[in-house]
């Protein structure tokens, strides 16, 4: 196959590309330029937009003996990921930009361009596995190593996208093995630190970064009864379940910490309350997709597990399509789930589908 290896400049994508080469594919390395203003050298960190990363990716490609190019997706990235990220926060939601990037950039813009240019697949360093069922349907599964599993951020992929995706690291037992392999292959990125930040927020402070894009007007922090407890300097950047940074002078009556329960962009209010009020027993969203083959009868509630964070726990649930929404009833509660986050459904190790969460139901109020 002719394979386009997306090379971020990190160790995972370099080893993934190496394995694709070794498997006999005709591989071309591509570094995605996602910012028109690439940052300067950042010691010890890794993002998608730095010169150092571009050079590291190029060096790795040279070691592998494959051609290497930088392709500019900055405009698409700005519209589909960065602007979306800002708009979601403005609307009081908590987005996952890595998910958007996979959905719209890596496995859409890049893949489509690759296909048009004569490639068969895009290869990345994600920890996940693609396989086929007996009928030839593509399936996405968790990686062998649960600690690194990235199937969650790939939950947005469709059957068609999976058919052209290659994740050579899915069957690797540990990240240490990947680093050792990189070292053995003479790749200089073998010991490069992992990236955890959002790549376009180099300092890692989302709230501070958002200030440059969104006007922040002071507003009220209120409790569930509507009593004013304090002021905030802009609702944007608050996240459901957030405990720190509320700066409420008075302690709660019961002396227990307070958490962000709700963000109300229209009235510029942030609602806070006790941890118990964060309990969620139902999630729903209309922006859903099936990862591979759709369930036989999605209109009937089926058993599954659901995960709402990249490396979060799963809880057992039942899910079904109800009036155009994917409704997920949790059999055990989640704490502090925000609209905008993505709920990914699993059956065993297989990713079934996902939805961006539009609304949640409090387990506490549910019975009232």
């Amino acid at each position: 196959m002719r394979v386009l290896a997306a090379m971020s400049g990190g160790v995972d994508s370099a080893v993934a590309a190496a394995r694709a080469v070794e498997a006999g594919h005709e591989v071309v390395g591509v570094h995605l330029a996602l910012s028109r203003m690439p940052g300067t050298l950042r010691t010890g960190s890794r993002g998608c937009c730095t010169i150092e990363d571009s050079m590291d990716a190029q060096r790795a490609a040279t070691k592998l003996g494959i051609p290497y190019y930088v392709w500019d997706f900055s405009e698409r990235f700005k519209i589909d990921v960065v602007d979306d990220f800002v708009a979601e926060y403005q609307a009081g939601r908590t987005p996952n930009p890595c998910m958007r990037c996979n959905e719209r950039i890596k496995f859409a813009a890049l893949l489509e361009r690759g296909l048009a240019l004569g490639f068969d697949a895009v290869c990345t360093g994600h920890y996940a596995s693609v396989s086929k069922d007996d009928a030839g349907n593509f399936e996405l599964h968790r990686s062998l190593e649960m600690a690194k599993d990235q199937s969650y951020v790939l939950g947005v992929l469709t059957q068609e996208q999976l058919a052209h995706s290659m994740f050579p690291l899915g069957a690797t037992a540990s990240k240490d093995l990947v680093r050792a392999e990189a070292d053995a292959r003479g790749l200089s990125v073998a010991n490069k630190p992992d990236s955890y930040d959002i790549c376009f927020i180099p300092e890692g402070d989302t709230r501070e970064w958002l200030r440059d894009f969104v006007p922040s007007d002071a507003g009220k922090i209120v409790d569930q009864e509507g009593n004013e407890l304090g002021e905030h300097d802009g609702h944007v950047g608050f996240t459901i379940g957030q405990r720190k940074g509320l700066r409420i002078g008075r302690p709660a009556k019961d002396g227990k910490p307070r958490y962000v329960l709700e963000i109300r962009p229209k009235t510029n209010e942030v609602v806070v309350g006790p941890e118990a009020a964060l309990q969620i027993d139902q999630l729903a969203g209309s922006r859903y997709s099936w990862c591979g083959k759709a369930p036989e009868n999605a209109n009937e509630f089926f058993d599954c597990q659901v995960q709402v964070r990249a490396h979060g726990d799963t809880v057992p649930a039942t899910a079904a399509l109800v009036d155009g929404e994917l409704v997920i009833n949790l059999l055990e509660p989640f704490y502090g789930v925000a609209p905008g986050q993505t709920a990914v459904l699993y059956v065993g190790t297989r990713v079934l589908g996902q939805t961006t969460i539009d609304r949640t139901r409090s387990a506490v109020n549910a019975g009232v």
Partner: protein, 389 residues
């Protein structure tokens, strides 16, 4: 098969240059040393200076050996600006929107750090410098102008500026020209140009990468970027590389020796290329075709494509050409030259520069046309996909 049609970015080292380099490398002696060894290598350096002075038609003392075009431009722009701001303030630097980054970036540095003001000369519809606008700028700002810097030949589209007319308008104001794409590709004389300073770069005419020169009029005393041993009229401290100087001057002589024959031959190749490409892709726009331009280079806009896709598709077929200039991270942005000439951003990201040189052969044209035609079919498909999603 691999075909290199990117001679405007760098051209193969010529045999006399390589021979001169290798011969000089075998010798020992710091050209500054008093002893016989030093005197011998000094002689090589000064022979090179004589040879280069003859080639550019300047006085031997006007040749300052540098590492290449970027250093020469930086030395000229900053050095002249500083010198001109000693007795009184002259903040204005006059230049154009289609200069090379190695020229415009030092000016922007001066704007940011030293209070300089950049005034851009307008361009005519065909991309040429608007001399009437230059004249009015000179009339308006007069002695507030520190220097004027306009490139002799544009590196992307090949437009030739009438430098003689520029210096006539400038009168006593120092004029510098980035002649990196000009020297070796068209007949020029520093003496007759009226320039105060001129940058040239060896690897554009058959010397190795890493050597060039700044030609500085004897009347001009720019401040130096470097301080140290005071070599090269105090403008380029550091032990002088006589092997590179020899390689530079040998390449210059070789480039001049076959200049007019090469100009005619490359014009045939270039015209043939543009003709054949227009036949297979009628939509192409040949930039600067209505302006005086150098013979060896062609810049075409291929609507419906994106340069980075095209470069990939051509590289895949073994054809090396270029498009615009890439940033440090390797991102190929829209060509600032085409933008400066008034083309849309879409056009400025859909251009290709095909440039011929002393090693080019007629069959290279057919290879290039075939490769571009084949790449085009895929590139428009890729671009259509990008526009849809």
């Amino acid at each position: 098969m691999k075909v290199f049609l990117d001679h405007a970015s760098t051209t193969p080292v010529r045999k006399p240059s390589l021979d001169a380099l290798v011969a000089a490398l075998a010798e020992i002696g710091n050209p500054q040393s008093v002893h016989t060894h030093g005197q011998q290598t000094r002689a090589h350096l000064e022979d090179a200076r004589d040879e280069l002075a003859l080639a550019v038609d300047c006085n031997r003392s006007e040749v300052i050996f540098t590492s290449g075009g970027t250093e020469s431009n930086n030395q000229a722009i900053k050095g002249i600006f500083w010198a001109r701001n000693q007795d009184r303030k002259r903040p204005i630097v006059v230049s154009s929107a289609i200069e090379h980054h190695a020229l415009i970036d030092p000016i922007e540095w001066l704007v940011k750090h030293e209070g300089a003001e950049l005034v851009l000369v307008k361009l005519l519809a065909n991309g040429e410098i608007d001399l009437a606008d230059l004249e009015s700028i000179i009339t308006k700002h007069g002695d507030d102008i520190a220097l004027i810097s306009l490139m002799w030949v544009n590196n992307e589209v090949g437009i030739i500026t009438d430098i003689k007319k520029v210096t006539e308008l400038a009168r006593s104001i120092p004029v510098h020209s980035d002649a990196v794409q000009a020297f070796g590709n068209l007949a020029l004389s520093f003496r007759d140009s009226g320039l105060s300073a001129m940058s040239i770069s060896g690897h554009k005419f058959g010397a190795p990468i890493g050597v060039g020169a700044l030609i500085v009029s004897r009347n001009l005393k720019p401040e130096s970027l470097l301080h140290g041993g005071g070599q090269e009229r105090g403008l380029r401290s550091g032990t002088m590389s006589y092997p590179l100087a020899k390689a530079l001057s040998a390449a210059a002589s070789a480039a001049l020796a076959d200049l007019s024959a090469r100009q005619s031959a490359l014009k045939v190749l270039r015209d043939d290329f543009e003709q054949k490409l227009s036949e297979v892709i009628p939509d192409i726009k040949i930039t600067a075709s209505g302006a005086p331009r150098v013979e060896h280079s062609s810049n075409v806009i291929i609507p419906g494509t994106k340069s980075d896709s095209m470069l990939f598709l051509l590289d895949e077929q073994g054809l090396s050409v270029s498009a615009g200039s890439a940033c440090q991270a390797g991102v190929l942005g829209p060509s600032h030259v085409l933008m400066g000439m008034g083309y849309s951003e879409q056009d400025a990201t859909a251009c290709l520069r095909v440039s011929f040189g002393h090693s080019s052969k007629p069959e290279d044209v057919d290879f290039a046309v075939r490769a571009i035609q084949a790449g085009y079919a895929k590139a428009i498909k890729a671009q259509a996909v990008a526009g849809r999603t």
